[in-house]
């Protein structure tokens, strides 16, 4: 009977109703459409470029750039190549992203915890902060800090200062810069050794606790080793470092470290904006932990710090990590708005100036997009790996 039915089915099913055939048909159709689309635009692009006399290829990367860049982490001047401008822009983007992520995480944690506070005023203040800053476009916030606040700062001559070593004016923030001398390597080595000793201590402590149940206070000794050891080596090596203070010469400050106002405005805006989102992530992560977990930890006699460190935070992290990753990626992508105020990030330097100078639209846009794509995809891959490692194993 079964066999008979199958036979009937086969006879009845029209070929265009067979799921397998349909699936193949639709997929061929999809591939065909995509290929046709790309052939069409590539063909158009080639004809158009030939007509306008645009050469293709990446040869332009070796040409001399001939324009200056406001801030560069690596050595750069007009004589360097377009390829170098790419790296200058990339490093500036990475700088903003890393600093922004650190600052936004710190601020976001405080505000997220503030929103959960039992103190009515604090929690309302945190809520107001979140609802205000996440509902205002980031670009507007960048403009506000750059054009309305930083442009209102005093001129270099009347700059605000802290103890004649830190200056803040319309041209930026001037800090004393460290200058390393011979023998500073020993101090750096001491820091590495200190970290090594602390890791050893932590291992020893864990082992001892497992075997004997005794705990050993780790935090203060670790801080002591981390600060003390390099400090001793520093003085033994004869203080191989001094500070280079900014000095007002003519119309501007010379020496020291300079943080340009574009970077300051961008960092403030990115931090303030992203912190509002991170605060919500943190709040939802902490709220997701059932109250019973806190009560159970108390019942076991764990101290407040132990309860947070061993019970609450590890569980909250599971909830927090994925959306937090998204916020980090958003911040990195949002740093591209730098181009609006002229901070020399990848988009501004490469997709802006270099594109205008060379006219190599396709190659440059391709390279810029590839960088962001690589950053996004590799970060999310890393976070997925981390996430799967700490995910709850359910049976």
């Amino acid at each position: 009977m079964d066999i008979q039915n199958k036979g009937q089915d086969k006879a009845k099913t029209k070929i265009w109703n067979d799921p397998a055939v349909r699936s193949v048909f639709f997929q061929v159709l999809a591939v065909g459409a995509v290929v046709a689309f790309f052939l069409y635009i590539i063909n158009n692009a080639l004809t158009n470029m030939e007509q306008r006399g645009i050469t293709t290829g990446f040869a332009f990367l070796g040409d001399q750039a001939g324009f200056g860049i406001l801030q560069s982490l690596i050595e750069y001047d007009e004589t360097h190549s377009f390829g170098r401008t790419f790296f200058v822009g990339l490093l500036n983007t990475v700088l903003v992203a890393v600093l922004g992520i650190i600052l936004a995480t710190i601020l976001g944690f405080f505000i997220g915890i503030g929103r959960l506070s039992h103190n009515w005023l604090i929690s309302k203040l945190a809520t107001t902060y979140i609802e205000t800053f996440r509902n205002i476009p980031l670009l507007l916030q960048i403009f506000f800090w750059y054009f309305a606040v930083l442009q209102g700062l005093p001129s270099p001559r009347n700059s605000m200062s802290i103890g004649e070593s830190v200056f803040f004016n319309i041209r930026g923030l001037y800090l004393p810069g460290p200058v390393y001398e011979d023998g500073f390597g020993a101090v750096a080595f001491a820091i590495v050794v200190a970290i090594g000793i602390i890791i050893g201590l932590v291992r020893f402590e864990r082992k001892r606790q497992r075997e004997t149940g005794k705990t050993f206070p780790l935090f203060l000794p670790s801080v002591g080793i981390l600060c003390g050891l390099p400090l001793i080596v520093y003085f033994l090596a004869g203080s191989p470092m001094h500070w280079d203070y900014p000095v007002l010469t003519g119309f501007n400050f010379k020496g020291g470290l300079t943080i340009i106002p574009e970077l300051i405005a961008l960092l403030i805006a990115l931090t303030v904006y992203t912190a509002a989102f991170i605060a919500e992530v943190v709040r939802s992560g902490i709220e997701a932990i059932p109250r019973g977990q806190s009560e159970a930890a108390n019942a076991l006699g764990l101290s407040n710090g132990q309860r947070l460190r061993l019970v609450i935070i590890p569980q909250a992290m599971r909830v927090i990590i994925p959306p937090m990753t998204n916020q980090y990626l958003n911040l990195t992508k949002n740093s591209s708005l730098a181009t609006a105020i002229g901070y020399p990030d990848l988009v501004s330097v490469f997709m802006g100036t270099t594109l205008n100078q060379t006219g190599q639209a396709i190659e440059i846009i391709f390279m810029t997009m590839a960088v962001y794509l690589f950053l996004s995809l590799s970060t999310s891959a890393l976070m997925n790996w981390y996430n799967s490692r700490i995910a709850l194993v359910e049976r």
Partner: protein, 365 residues
Amino acid sequence: MSNKFVPLPDLPPPSNTVGVVGWLRTNLFSSPVNSVLTIIAFYLIYSGISWFVSWGVINADVIGTSREDCTSGGACWVFISVRLPQFIYGFYPPDEVWRINLMFAIAIIGIVALMIDKTPKKGWIALFMLVIFPIIAYFLLYGGAFGLEVVETHKWGGLTLTLVIATVGIVVSLPIGVALALGRRSEMPIVKSISVVYIEFWRGVPLITVLFMASVMLPLFMSEGTETDKLVRAMIGVIMFQSAYMAEVVRGGLQAIPKGQYEAAHSLGLSYWKMMFFIILPQALKLMIPGIVNTFIALFKDTSLVLIIGLFDLLAIVQSALHDPKWLGFSVEGYIFVAFLFWVFCFGMSRYSQALERKLNTSHR
């Protein structure tokens, strides 16, 4: 000697746990740390509000026509009121502004009608808003038919342009997003991988690079002789970008539908499309509302980026007004005004979506 037990009446609760004092004690001064925090927060709020009130209200100038009318030393709202038409309509010819107003009026009436529960024939109104209204709005804004003068898109600007880009972006990207989400969950490997590559690509790059690409590269991809409007190019960029985000929202909604719903639809003998349109998508759509509104809010804020490729949205108009030599130095007023407009729209939408969520919540928990 009958000693009957008569309980004394209950004592009132201690005075420091009820009333204003009690509330203050539990909510503001429950511990020394909290007391310190309260005082700091109170100081911050007080100084912020008192600064704003004295700058923006007491010492502000509202009435006037030029910057000479700003004499009080506080905020100069005259700048906003003088420029208001430009902030809202951009460079649209003043004689034709009634067309924009008419379009807004129809839109507001339609949206309000849809938001009120008791409106009769809601389905028809929704259909009108989705199908006929865009056509009317196009002819009203652009003109070129029914004796309306053509207004080129480069004259559009201000809040109008912001709203046009955001609305077109969301309405067009929703169906594309649904298609992509279905593709991503499809069992056909090639269709699935095409959708995944599309979604991951657009989600991985910043909107600004997409806009650059749309404005610089799109003309290269068009066949010879086709001229595309700058606004259309920006919109194509926004739609491609937005549909990828929309696809992920839709995917989330689809994944939240229990497997039993799919199985039940299959067992009834429904085809794939019937199953999707009558069983899965209507349920998923309800779950997607918060996500869609979030995407819309993000898009609404992101429209401000079009100023980088030279379109004059609300922020760009204000930005350019600040560079007017007659009105130099009023950037704080300008930015506060735009921030307030954006904030009202975004906050309003998020509140509305929360209300809608509660209303549509049919689960019996």
